[in-house]
């Protein structure tokens, strides 16, 4: 009997050696794979209430100047921006596509795309502020630590208009957890912006795995509304000039 076992072990060993350089390599290079579709459990931006935050005088003045009609990018089909995309994405899904050298987050609502570089690259110089910011990630065991800087001050932190400066720094710790038979993605977020907030803001956003959730086409529904308004405006002019007749409803 032992001789049969030895042969089988030898055979399987040879087979296993053959397998190693193949598809297993990519997966084994990821300490944790966050790939999949996730739905946030709540809009944790609601936890960002101004009276609970110690804002500097400059911060309070910026918040007082907030006008939702003019200062909320999402009303213009512009992105949420980081970190509002992570904080306010519920109930819309976010899809994560992860490779060893970069993790990509595609937010379904308005189509924010965050790229987290895991390849050890330095910050670009110069580094202009952008809506999604510049994110570098590194592993600490089974947690992915993401540092994001250079976010445009044209974005806000939450629907209530909480401001941030261009010097804001967002640190996140991503990890997986199992609870109640479901898989969760935990994102511990720390927002540091001493110009406007006397203390760092700490929020945890929890996402439940939802791989069957349907992803829509990003900002399309917003842009369609914008397109229709533009078309009506132009066709009122054009109809007058050309005398064209409408024949059927717009698409």
């Amino acid at each position: 009997m032992p001789k049969i076992g030895a042969s089988l072990v030898l055979g399987l060993f040879l087979g296993g050696v053959g397998f190693l350089p193949g598809g297993a390599a990519a997966a084994s290079a990821l300490p944790v794979d966050f790939s999949g579709v996730w739905v946030a459990s709540a809009r944790s931006g609601d936890a960002l209430k101004p009276d609970k935050l110690h804002m500097t005088e400059r911060g309070k003045a910026a918040l007082a100047a907030f006008d939702p009609r003019h200062h909320d990018s999402t009303r213009f089909c512009m992105p949420y921006g980081t970190p509002r995309n992570t904080l306010s994405t519920a109930p819309y899904p976010v899809e994560i596509v992860q490779r060893p050298e970069r993790l990509t987050m595609i937010f379904d609502r308005l189509g924010d795309v965050r790229r987290v570089f895991l390849d050890g690259r330095p910050r670009p110089n110069p580094l202009w502020p952008t809506w999604l910011g510049h994110s570098l990630g590194h592993w600490e065991g089974k947690a992915l630590v993401i540092e994001t800087v250079a976010m445009t001050k044209e974005s806000i932190l939450a629907d209530n208009g909480l401001p941030h400066s261009e010097d804001m720094r967002v640190t996140e710790r991503l990890s997986l957890a199992s609870r109640d038979g479901a898989q969760w993605l935990i994102d511990d977020i720390t927002i540091t912006d001493p110009a406007l907030y006397e203390a760092p803001i700490k929020v945890t956003q929890r996402f439940r795995r939802a791989d069957g959730a349907e992803m829509s086409e990003g900002s399309v529904s917003c842009l369609l509304d914008q397109w229709r308004q533009d078309l009506e405006r132009r066709n009122q002019t054009l109809a007058g000039e050309v005398g064209a007749e409408k024949n059927g409803a717009p698409p």
């Binding site: 399987l12 087979g15 997966a27 790939s35 089909c77 596509v97 992860q98 490779r99 086409e217 842009l223």
Partner: protein, 246 residues
């Protein structure tokens, strides 16, 4: 042969069989298309490449509308400036962009994800063997499933929205696409995308178009949010005329 010897031989053969199968799998591992790819109007042979036929085989009724559009567009170029809409391009157009707006390919297990700088659009190609669901609402990117055939990623796309007047197509269009890494005449790597358009309700016969891409070092997808002009005007309070919007 004794019972034990037979068993040992079988075990060894099983192991060797696994090894051979594994070697075959490793040798046939598909190429990795991951990267940021910049379109190029110059094909691998150094000649300019057309991404849409000068005279596509339109059915006569569609040709009439197309000709009428060409007349209107020539007379009113501003009105037919499509970029004002900010809406996504409709397949196959996102793959046929020649202007210097890159496309990012992220290849992972069972999936290829494409992110287009124009207009921050996302295309998903499923490689997990699924069949497209029935009753799908047509979308700008359509629904894409693919598989590898040797070094080519073969993709079938259906459920695409109606095309635009200059690249018309209807709901029954099927796109069959082959994506491959190739070498140009100077042995530099290019990405070739070959797309066959099959829509017998619009075109008399299927036809094939191609586009080519190169990687440029250090290029990442930029932020292209094309209602930014309205946003900036709103922030500034300036009432200046935005020419492509009026």
């Amino acid at each position: 042969m004794t019972h034990g010897a037979l068993a040992r031989t079988a075990a060894l053969l099983l192991g060797l069989g696994l090894l051979i199968a594994a070697s075959v799998a490793v040798a046939a591992a598909p190429p990795d298309l991951t990267g940021v790819w910049m379109p190029t109007a110059i094909g691998p042979d150094g000649n300019r490449n057309r991404t849409w036929p000068a005279k596509p085989p339109l059915l006569p009724a569609v040709q009439a509308d197309y000709d009428a559009y060409r007349v209107l567009a020539a007379a009113n170029p501003e009105d037919f400036d499509s970029a004002r809409s900010c809406l996504p391009y409709i397949m196959p157009r996102p793959m046929l962009v020649v202007a210097q707006y890159p496309l990012e390919i992220v290849q992972t297990d069972g999936r290829v994800t494409m992110i287009f700088e124009l207009h921050n659009d996302v295309r998903r190609i499923y490689l997990d063997g699924r069949t497209p669901p029935s009753g799908l609402r047509p979308t700008w990117m359509g629904y894409s499933v693919g598989h590898w055939e040797g070094d080519a990623l073969v993709v079938r796309t259906t459920s695409v929205r109606d095309g635009t007047i200059d690249q018309p197509h209807g709901p029954s269009m099927v796109l069959t696409e082959r994506l491959r890494l190739i070498k140009d005449k100077d042995a530099n790597t290019m990405l070739e995308d070959e797309i066959t358009v099959d829509d017998l309700a619009t075109y008399a016969q299927p036809f094939t178009v191609r586009n080519f891409f190169r990687q440029r070092p250090g290029v990442e997808i930029g932020e292209y949010f094309c209602s930014e002009d309205l946003w900036q005007q709103n922030l500034s309070g300036n009432a200046t005329k935005i020419p492509w919007r009026n």
